[in-house]
């Protein structure tokens, strides 16, 4: 099990499960391919026939509207047939196991599974047990990984900053529980970003996070100094219940992004957020809607990046 379960014998992408361990050329290929899809929605016919006749199953074991919808749109723009399954409300509650569900759907000649699950490693488990001709895209597993989100973030960064090799990027917020943060860290370090920072109180940082190649800050003012890109994370309300934080108000005061704190970063720094945002908790509305925010562009690019990932997987 030590070899990378995402790559086939030829070293090509078989599944997209995590950004960890993927060589830079594979990541860049996804970004380059995505560039060619950015213009598609502006055409008269918003579709390309690349995945015509392919069946893509959206397997969402955890509720999601936004991510599921972007995958659905991406698949439809590639002319694939899309089936959406919200498993949380169907077979799992009848006692069917995860792999039973997957096997049943495989028997319906699926070509690709888009999987979201509340448990870390769920997409790896499915990838290990599907037939070799089926591809799996991880659309978020527990706290582990959310590679397409990280790739659309990389795409957005490249659009605005062009080169990764001279950037300072700060990820702010609940790193511990964030699959987005883990995938961003691996993608940024692989693409050659020289300084990746995480800024967070100690209760929201995983042990030995520095081993992932990041610099740790607990003080926003210091951590944001001279930063080119700010990646904000969503703070879940339940963090207050688990004794990790005293209150949303205190969090906002010390770790919420305001114009004042943003002024510490470079004047042309961009602000990103994977959504959905908690305005007034991790980010102030004035920043979220301000001129340095590229949050709505992220959503647009997200479709192109997912189209790229699907196209590349289907071709391997």
């Amino acid at each position: 099990m030590s070899n990378n379960p995402q790559l086939n014998k030829g070293g090509e992408l078989q599944h997209l499960l995590t950004t960890e361990g993927l060589p830079a050329p594979i990541l860049l290929n996804i970004l380059d391919t995505a560039e060619s899809f950015v213009g598609v929605p502006e055409r008269d016919i918003k579709k390309v026939p690349l995945l015509r006749g392919k069946s893509i199953f959206n397997l969402f074991f955890e509720p999601s509207t936004r991510t599921r919808t972007t995958f659905e749109i991406a698949a439809k723009r590639l002319s694939a047939d899309v089936v959406n399954l919200n498993i949380a409300s169907s077979s799992q509650s009848k006692g069917e196991t995860l792999l039973d569900t997957v096997n049943n759907l495989s028997a319906m000649h699926a070509d690709m599974f888009i999987v979201r699950h509340s448990q870390s490693g769920a997409a790896h488990l499915i990838a290990r047990h599907v037939k070799p001709e089926i591809h799996v895209i991880n659309a978020g597993d527990g706290r582990h990984a959310h590679p397409t989100q990280a790739l659309l973030d990389m795409f957005t960064i490249r659009r605005y900053k062009r080169d990764f090799h001279n950037l300072c990027v700060a990820i702010v917020g609940d790193i511990l529980h964030s699959r987005v943060a883990r995938s961003q860290i691996h993608a940024l370090t692989t693409l050659g970003v020289p300084e990746v920072r995480v800024i967070s109180p100690k209760t929201l940082l995983p042990t030995k996070v520095d081993r992932l190649g990041v610099r740790v800050f607990h003080d926003m003012a210091k951590g944001l100094k001279d930063v080119d890109v700010l990646l904000m994370l969503r703070l879940q309300n339940e963090r207050m219940l688990g004794a990790r934080l005293p209150s949303a108000e205190e969090y906002f005061k010390y770790y919420g992004l305001t114009q004042e704190k943003l002024a510490r970063a470079k004047h042309d720094a961009i602000v990103m957020h994977p959504g959905p945002m908690n305005r007034g908790i991790e980010i102030d509305s004035a920043v979220a809607d301000g001129k340095q925010s590229v949050i709505s562009q992220q959503v647009t690019f997200g479709i192109a990046v997912r189209m790229a990932a699907m196209t590349i997987l289907a071709g391997n």
Binding site: M1, S2, P5, E20, T97, L98, L99, H117, Q119, S120, G121, A122, H124, L125, H129, D141, G142, R143, H144, A145, R179, R182, P206, T207, K208, V209, R211, L212
Partner: protein
Amino acid sequence: MKILIKNGRVIDPKSGMDAVSDVYIVAGKIVAIGAQPDRFQANHIIDAKGLVVCPGLVDISVRLREPGLEYKATLESEMRAAVAGGVTSLACPPDTDPPLDEPGLVEMLKHRAKSLNQAHVYPIGALTQGLQGDRLTEMAELFDAGCVAFGQSDKQLLDSRVLMRAMQYASTFNFSVWLRPEDAGISNSGVAHDGEVATRLGLPAIPVCAETVAISNIVLIARETGARVHLSKVSSAEGVAMVRAAKQQGLPVTCDVAVNYIHLSEMDVSFFDSNCHLVPPLRGISDRDALRVGLKDGTIDVVCSDHSPVDEDAKLLPFGESEAGAIGLELLLSLILKWATEMKIPLVVALAKITSESAKILGVEAGHLSLGVAADLCIFDPDQYWKVEAASLKSQGKNTPFLGMELQGKVKYTLANGILVYED
């Protein structure tokens, strides 16, 4: 029935014997080692040339899954696994369904085990009713029914007052209390060691202090109450150091390590291998190394398999949802030999950790080759390699991190009460 085991390398850790010799068995008992007794005419001769003849292994933590959990394993399947692994005495934790908290259940289990006529079964009684952690069990009655010690298995006692009373009451009768040190509040819903791998994989983590805080509590209460305490499955370097300190203070504390932990670490979880989902979690490499040293220097008294058969479906789940545990009855010997080879420890010393020392922890007459004792023997080829494969494992559970690997040391014959109960 008279049996002669000839030309074997006879190793008896208790006496320190390690020499090529012959073992003579009459009516289920060892009657001579070395010189042939008068009028001995063997009905059966086992040629043990090139093999090691040692006491039947004593495994102090084996889940037989009876009563109540027969879909995971049965007494029949696990007894076959035991003797195939050379294990002739075993202690089973109380975490069955219902738990072993009533004398009737214990008697039935002992009776069922005895009728199978293979390994000897020594139940560990529940310390609290239903393992719920609030009311004490009838320990004295349970002892009379056959329990050799009392514990909570992996169910934690949340209330320190109950823990203290339980230890006080047990010490009234000089019963040993077995506890796996873990502060349930700290470990919470964690499934992996709080280290690099859990950080990378995004797995809810259990810090080392979940173990050390609990050891500290237990040791302090043991000192206060005078109870005999056995700490099960110590997993961390700091934990080993605390046990060492407690022993240096002369406290009646013993401890064990489960065999997987002296070979594996968090790194083996790799890409979410649910066979490496164990409780406590596999910890860092430095922890593993400290366990190996602690076992060598005697801080850790014995090694158990912590055999836990889990059905396949319960492992084919995302790591955090998969059921914890690994089988080990059939791997215990090979994995001890592996440790002994790597640490350059003589066989006679290494085998004590799974024979004479384990019997001492249980307080039972087993694990040595004295004249007149029941002929429980394990005869193995120390040089033969074998492959760990689902099809060849006798246990109903096939869940082990070593699946597919080659291990050294193969059991060839097992005798229990002088009866050949396993032959390879």
